[in-house]
Symmetry: C2
Subunit: 204 residues, 2 copies
């Protein structure tokens, strides 16, 4: 084992005792409990996977989770297969028609976004659900497939206690303004740039 | 439904046809398949939850996942309860003794980090495991609980095909250098600043 002398151990203890007092005082100021509006945005990886990790955490407490995918369609993904282990605790709707450059059909994309948003509202109204993931909703808003004001108003008017996670690049400022927690995933380094392809279990 | 005139629909189609050509050409350049070294760092939320989302994705393909927690101890978390649904497909070791300001004991923290790293090496050597999550390893490295060079060398020498995710703030430059994919989670807005406390299903 790494050698640590007594003086070093004592200094560490004194420093951590002070730090604990600071931490405890800070934790004591946080008393509010509320359903959060969470945004995972930015060009980096982890926006959708972090939302699914949160869904998993909720499932660990026996809470029900609703997921609406605004871009992905009915294709097979690892996450969907895995969530099947939780039976009706997970309500899953893949409402997208695929990437906009695949469909090449604006009317079809708008219709898909509107249908997905209708599902989202239904899940948000369901009192048995504790967390709703709106995967890639930011993309639908960015391309004006949905009315931003109406979406923000509905998210703000969500039931007390309901957590909602919105994912996708380029979150609109009005949505960021309405959110409780916004994380920007930054791509410091990306394996695609090194010629690595999308792999099973990593990208899908 | 939102009104879209024919000219707008045509312009969209032309633009997306071009974009598809660009996308297809780009995808064609990516041919490498490899086990990735992935780092989720930064001050924002989602480092650990994104790692767990990735674990879930791997589980969806029937792959086995190993998780070692370097800071969290045996306390109950939603994610741990949820992963129990996958039986022996998930190998879970919470090897931490808690936050450094809780233990206030440098020797105990170092011993815990060394024991966790021994488990990590064991899981990395297990050919039945496709993904290993080293949760908060960055913290153990930041405080010099483990030898950075030895850790980086072992991660670089991982089996071909094995994906490893390392989480925690302040990733060391040598680790970033060795990684294939590095995401910096930035805290654009955090609910703790608004007095909201850590909540079940969100923070733990």
């Amino acid at each position: 084992m790494k050698a640590i002398d007594d003086a070093q151990a004592e200094r560490h203890k004194a420093k951590m005792t002070k730090r604990k007092a600071v931490q405890d005082a800070e934790v004591a100021t946080k008393t509010v409990e509320k359903g959060l509006l969470i945004i995972n945005t930015g060009p980096g990886k982890g926006k959708t996977t972090a939302a699914f990790g949160l869904a998993l955490r909720m499932l660990g407490y026996g809470r029900r989770v609703g997921i609406v995918q605004f871009v992905k369609g009915a294709w097979h993904t690892g996450e969907r297969a895995a969530f099947a282990a939780f039976g009706d605790k997970v309500v899953w709707h893949s409402m997208g028609e695929g990437f906009t450059w695949e469909t090449q059909d604006l009317r079809r994309d708008v219709a898909a976004a509107e249908a997905a948003w209708a599902k989202a509202r239904e899940l948000m109204a369901d009192p048995t659900i504790g967390l709703v993931v709106l995967d890639e909703l930011n993309i639908a808003l960015r391309y004006d497939y949905l009315d931003l004001d109406a979406v923000v108003a509905a998210l703000k008017a969500r039931r007390g206690g309901l957590h909602v996670v919105v994912t996708g690049r380029n979150a609109k400022p009005a949505l960021v303004e309405a959110a409780d927690l916004v994380t920007e995933m930054g791509a410091t380094k990306h394996h695609f740039a090194a010629g690595v392809k999308a792999q099973q279990g990593i990208e899908f």
